[in-house]
């Protein structure tokens, strides 16, 4: 069977006429500006980055193997930065996926003010973080409004921004910013579930919980994986919030981008390159893993 399909495919490829081939060639120029830019600004220099990560310095160009990587891995600043970023991602990504799914499900039911709620939830997406940093400082400073509020319940004041608790603030900000985007993705996925199947299930006496776990969840798996990937990437962007709140050298929240920034300042190309390669490889592995999970659960069907 598979062979037959393969043979048909081969036939198709062979069947291109000269005209079609010429047409194909004619569309190639459209690709050139973009491809040239991507090659120049991303792909070729990344090859150089890989090269730099393997030599001792740009002048002598001695091949040193994995020395740079080992140096980065043993660097305490890098360890701290990677640990903090990882910790943040592990806390924030599942939270954002679950909460946005919850919001999407709630908005998917028949309730009043649906569009208004949706509008409110995606508003933070539009607001630049820099604009609300001030108010966050007012809220969560040691002398801030939140501590004043807690004090009225008899809770001792906590230095939200400068201690370990800063994680909570940053996670809250991250959720605030990212819930809307993910929610929209989930809402469109929910509305794409064929209604006939749900109707049949209702007729068969399926409750809404069972309908969710046995039917909707199966249709949502790809979206959940995609949202997870997206949230993971966005969790690397949380540096923005951290930087704007706490500056260049925060105590508790030294993130990967802080490490990169400070290494940029010292212009240590080898360390930078090695770190970039490490993070890149990690990302590719993680994304592959998530896609593998997706393929395993959605039964290999493409949509």
């Amino acid at each position: 069977m598979n062979k037959q399909i393969q043979a048909e495919k081969n036939d198709k490829i062979k069947k291109y006429t000269k005209i079609e081939l010429r047409e194909r060639k004619n569309t190639l120029p459209f690709l050139i500006p973009s491809l040239a830019g991507v090659l120049l600004f991303y792909i070729l220099p990344f090859a150089v980055v890989i090269y730099y990560s393997l030599i001792d310095n740009p002048i002598q160009k001695n091949f040193v193997g994995f020395d740079n990587f080992i140096q980065v891995f043993t660097n305490s600043a890098f360890k701290q930065a990677a640990g903090n970023t990882l910790k943040f991602s592990i806390i924030a990504v599942p939270l954002v996926v679950l909460l946005s799914l919850l919001l999407a499900i709630l908005l998917d039911t028949n309730i009043p003010f649906k569009t208004q709620f949706r509008t409110v939830f995606i508003t933070p997406l539009m607001v630049p973080v820099a604009s609300i940093v001030l108010i966050v400082q007012v809220l969560f400073d040691y002398n801030g409004a939140f501590n004043t509020l807690l004090a009225s319940f008899g809770v001792l004041p906590i230095d939200w921004l400068k201690s370990e608790h800063a994680y909570l603030v940053i996670v809250a900000l991250y959720l605030w910013k990212n819930l809307g985007y993910n929610m929209i993705l989930f809402m469109s996925a929910l509305s794409n579930i064929p209604t006939e199947i749900l109707e049949v299930a209702t007729l068969d006496g399926c409750g809404s919980l069972r309908k969710f776990f046995y039917i909707k969840l199966r249709y949502l798996i790809s979206t959940i994986m995609f949202v997870t990937i997206l949230s993971l990437i966005n969790s690397f962007k949380v540096f923005r919030e951290v930087y704007l709140l706490t500056g260049d050298y925060p105590n508790a929240l030294y993130m990967l981008q802080h490490f990169m920034n400070n290494t940029f300042k010292s212009l240590d190309y080898q360390k930078l390159s090695a770190a970039a390669v490490i993070i890149g490889i990690m990302m590719v592995l993680l994304i592959n893993l998530l896609f593998a999970i997706d393929r395993r659960f959605s039964g290999g069907e493409d949509d």
Partner: protein, 324 residues
């Protein structure tokens, strides 16, 4: 002749059993309706509370921008004096105020007219974001046309590498960007952010997904009528994509309006910082000003949002799903 099923001799009232059943059904329905009502109320209250939390920081920033410097100092003096260590006059507690005692536009007039510094930084943001937005879409339109028009191994390989690139965080992509900027001697100029921004594959991804949905028949028909590829692109493809182009424009705009990482690395000179970075550098004596500038900075995005919410949602929907 009409035939009635009903026998005239029988009484018209339905049998007892039927009446009882109807009553029962009605009771069940009423129960269901009440349940549904309670569910609605609970969900709505929950969503309402979440909404308030979501809007709270935005609204507070906007209302606070209408307070005078003295009022801000009286309310939040304590917070911002602890940042610098200097002790001006301070209230004992921080009080959050939603509505200013006296609405004043003094902060805006200072920020916008008397100290051109902030306007300059605002301009820095505009001059970075607008070219990126415009040219990224132009470049991406052409590229996605090529991707959507024909499939081949070569093209899908390139498209796949675009996706990988799109998924890379700044921590990875900024290093190659910096190297190229260094070779081209454009570090510390705006080009070092604009050029990599133009070729960012994000727009290509969404536009390609949209263009693949345009029926091939339309293209074939236009071709039979004598359209060349260029005419197909400009006369057929772009007009069909109009709404998705707006969506991409909105998404790109909000992404770059919020940029922090690139200017920090590419610019050593704070004068070139866009407002998104510079806002955090406003010193504590100017807190009142900062609120006004912060509000001023989010006005364009909120305006864009107001007029293009549907486009934004459409854009987000198209960005979903990598395989599609």
């Amino acid at each position: 002749m009409i035939q009635y099923n009903h026998n005239i001799n029988e009484p018209l009232t339905p049998p007892e059993e039927l009446i009882r059943q109807r009553k029962r059904n009605r009771a069940i329905h009423r129960g269901k309706r009440i349940k549904r009502g309670i569910y609605c109320a609970v969900v709505c209250t929950f969503l309402f509370i979440v909404s308030i939390i979501f809007l709270f920081p935005i609204v507070l920033t906007i209302t606070n921008s209408f307070m005078s410097q003295t009022e801000i100092a009286a309310n939040y003096g304590k917070v911002f004096s602890s940042l610098t260590g200097s002790r001006t006059f301070i209230a004992e507690k921080v009080t959050l105020k939603l509505i200013p005692d006296m609405v004043s536009f003094s902060q805006y007039s200072t920020a916008l007219i008397k100290s051109p510094d902030y306007l300059l930084k605002f301009w820095n943001s505009v001059i970075l974001v607008v070219p990126i937005m415009v040219f990224q879409i132009i470049v991406a339109l052409a590229a996605s046309y090529a991707f959507a028009r024909f499939d081949s191994k070569f093209r899908s390989l390139i498209f796949f590498s675009y996706i990988i690139l799109m998924l890379m965080p700044y921590q990875v992509t900024l290093v190659p960007n910096y190297l190229v900027a260094n070779w081209l001697h454009i570090i510390d100029t705006r080009w070092s952010i604009i050029l990599p921004g133009i070729f960012s594959p994000y727009a290509v991804f969404i536009l390609t997904k949209f263009m693949k949905r345009i029926p091939k028949a339309i293209m074939e028909a236009a071709k039979l009528d004598g359209c060349g590829e260029w005419q197909l692109f400009t006369k057929i493809c772009i007009p069909l994509c109009r709404s998705v182009i707006w969506s991409v424009a909105v998404l790109v705009f909000i992404d770059y309006w919020n940029m922090v990482e690139q200017p920090l690395i590419m610019f050593s000179d704070q004068e070139k910082y866009p407002l998104s970075v510079f806002l955090s550098k406003i010193n504590s004596e100017d807190v009142g000003l900062a609120f006004a500038v912060a509000t001023f900075y989010m006005v364009p995005t909120l305006l864009v949002f107001l007029y293009s919410e549907d486009y934004l949602i459409e854009g987000i929907t198209y960005s979903g799903g990598i395989k599609g």
